[in-house]
Amino acid sequence: MQEPQGQSTPAEAQGETQTLRWQRLMEAAQSGDQRAYATLLREAAVFVRLIARRYHSDTTALEDVVQETLISMHRARHTHEPGLPVEPWIAAIAKSRAIDGLRTRRRQARLAAQLSNEAHTTSRQSADTEEGRFATQSQVIAALETLPPGQRAAVQMLKIQEMSLSDAARASGKSMPALKSLLHRAMLALRETLNGGRDA
């Protein structure tokens, strides 16, 4: 599949193709050259944005994919084999992160629908319309931001990323009962916030 090309750079104007330039920058970055690495990440961000646009139209989601891809590239930079083009390596990570982003948004929508259904019993506003669902999803995202970090992380891992309790406990360094308790309090707080918002 033909991947989109990034913006042309001064080096390209001098005859060095983007493929060779990124290969050189990546090899320098693997050796610890921070300047080369910063240049590569900045140029890669443009390339990743083009790929992510195929999957996401929302600007926030698009930027999430770009940032998640850059973080994954950082963690996986030792897996790029010197001498091979960097574009397919970046494109594969970007595509994977873009699909993860779609899944995350679907889970957010499911969580919003779940909370919306519960709130529906105490509210006149219907969550059955597309408009109602969209508003509720936005409200849930906003309500998530108001949670304390521990509770927010519990919802993120257990409800949005759908991690198992044991995996989430390992990832967060918390015990499983502590995570369950954080999730329970987070869900109560979310319901209260969302119901309060509707009643107001």
């Binding site: 970055a29 693997q30 050796s31 610890g32 921070q34 690495y37 910063a38 990440l41 900045r42 961000a45 926030t60 930027e63 999430d64 770009v66 940032q67 998640e68 850059l70 973080i71 994954s72 950082h74 963690r75 996986a76 930079r77 030792h78 897996t79 790029h80 084999e81 010197p82 091979l84 574009e87 397919p88 390596w89 970046i90 494109a91 594969a92 990570i93 595509k95 994977s96 198992s164 995996d167």
Partner: protein
């Protein structure tokens, strides 16, 4: 995500210590398979059914089943290693197909022929064969930890499934070297079931470990 992308790039750049690039996937796969084949050779040298093997090797379906299991096992592990590196062609997933088809087709031919002759004595070995493949395949799956250490696969499920299949087919190959006998439908069915079980086992334990 509240952090600005430029700030993120700055932060990642500050953290960018030198890293040692992984060795080429083919080199890693070759080294891993070399160790597995060496261990299998030692096992066959000490406990292999050499007499039975020699008498069965002239039987074409048996020989093709044996070769198919080996080719499928090796190619599944090679494709798992290739797919564990971002950016490699997704077509690598099809590498084990020819070996798997050889193994399956020759095994079914052997079963059909033996069933038609009423030779069902291999049915008695089905349970032992199932346990042998699980017992020999599980350590190979565990050893793939060293093969995938440091990799960050974007297709974690496929990598785990292929690693499980590779280990299972190599275990099925070893079984035929250790206990050479003609297959019956129930016996060969137990091989297929053991291969599928190991694949699911590898996916269950491997996917969360490999997932980035």
């Amino acid at each position: 995500m509240p952090e600005n992308t430029d700030n993120l790039i700055e932060r990642l750049t500050r953290d960018a210590a030198p890293v040692k690039a992984l060795r080429a996937p083919m080199v890693r796969a070759g080294a891993f398979l070399g160790v597995v084949v060496a261990v299998m050779s030692v096992l066959v040298a000490f406990a292999g059914d050499r007499a039975g093997l020699l008498s069965h090797l002239s039987d074409l379906p048996y020989a093709v089943t044996l070769a198919g299991a080996f080719v499928a096992g090796v190619s599944a592990l090679v494709s798992a290693v290739m797919l564990s590196i971002p950016g490699r062609s997704e077509a690598w997933i099809y590498l084990p197909v020819p070996g798997a088809l050889l193994w399956l087709a020759a095994g079914l031919v052997e079963c059909a022929r033996n069933a038609a002759k009423g030779a069902t004595e291999a049915d008695a070995f089905a349970g032992d064969c199932f346990i042998f493949i699980l017992g020999a395949g599980a350590p190979v799956i565990a050893a793939t930890y060293f093969l995938f250490r440091g990799t960050v696969p974007v297709h974690a499920s496929s990598v785990a499934a292929l690693a499980g299949l590779g280990a299972a087919w190599l275990a099925a190959f070893l079984l035929q070297l250790m206990h050479a006998h003609g297959a019956s439908p129930i016996d060969f069915g137990s091989h297929i079931l053991a291969v599928a079980t190991l694949m699911l086992f590898a996916m269950t334990i491997g996917r969360p470990t490999l997932k980035t």
